[in-house]
């Protein structure tokens, strides 16, 4: 997003403007990555760690 005061010196305002839109694919990718990590953790916890019994 362009800064409120306009483009910093040496930068083309139009180029800066093109950085404004946030690609929705990046958000989807992050969500999938975080979701897969959480699912992997839950599967290991529920299917391997808990059935192996008490420890202490």
């Amino acid at each position: 997003m362009p800064p409120a005061g306009g483009a910093p010196p040496g930068l083309d305002p139009q180029q800066l403007q093109s950085l404004g839109p946030v690609p929705s694919g990046a958000i989807a990718l992050s969500a999938i990555a975080v979701g897969l990590l959480l699912i992997a953790w839950l599967l290991i916890y529920l299917l391997i760690y808990l059935p192996r019994g008490m420890i202490g």
Partner: protein
């Protein structure tokens, strides 16, 4: 369409809320396992002199192996040393709480028992203690999982889990793998 400052803040707050939710879920499950199911990392802190480990006290040779204490509890004592566990095979009852106590005479070793949550370091100068219940019968492998020298890959013991009716201590309360 360019995002406004408001859009960015809203997106970041959503992410913060989602990640906070995940952290709460994971901490909640961990606390539940610790408090309700008694699953805790082994945290025994007990000093012992590694120089006299084999000469005096709990880890002398006659005390090693599986023993049923006078209060009925089953305790296994082992010494980890380059490059073997002593004894090399232990017998434990199935579906009954067992206490594993071990110490090292030389360098840092580590143990895990395959298919169980038993997993701890064995550090010279300290007694490692793990309470567990073996739920399935059979011979389990117990390798050293901390590189301890050139013979590390040959260092392992066997844990023989037997049904409770086949777990027969002798007059001294000892049980061993031998005939």
């Amino acid at each position: 369409m360019a995002w406004t400052e408001h859009d960015v803040v809203r997106s970041e707050l959503r992410w913060a809320a989602a990640v906070s939710g995940f952290v709460v879920i994971i901490f909640g499950l961990t606390l539940f396992a610790a408090l309700a199911l008694h699953r805790n990392p082994p945290s025994n802190l007990e000093r012992i002199d590694p120089k006299t480990l084999h000469l005096t006290g709990e880890f002398t040779e006659p005390n090693l192996g599986t023993r049923v204490e006078t209060n009925g509890r089953v305790t296994v004592r082992m010494v980890a040393t380059q490059f073997a566990f002593v004894p090399q095979c232990i017998v434990v009852p199935e579906a009954q709480e067992v206490t594993l106590r071990m110490s090292s005479a030389d360098v840092i070793h580590g143990i895990l028992v395959t298919g169980t949550n038993v997993n701890t370091m064995v550090v010279p100068g300290y007694v490692s203690q793990v309470h567990t219940v073996f739920q399935r019968g059979g011979d389990l492998l117990m390798p050293c999982h901390e590189f301890c020298g050139f013979g590390h890959s040959q260092m392992y013991a066997r844990v023989r889990v037997v049904p409770r009716d086949q777990f027969r201590p002798d007059a001294q309360g000892r049980v061993s793998c031998g005939p």
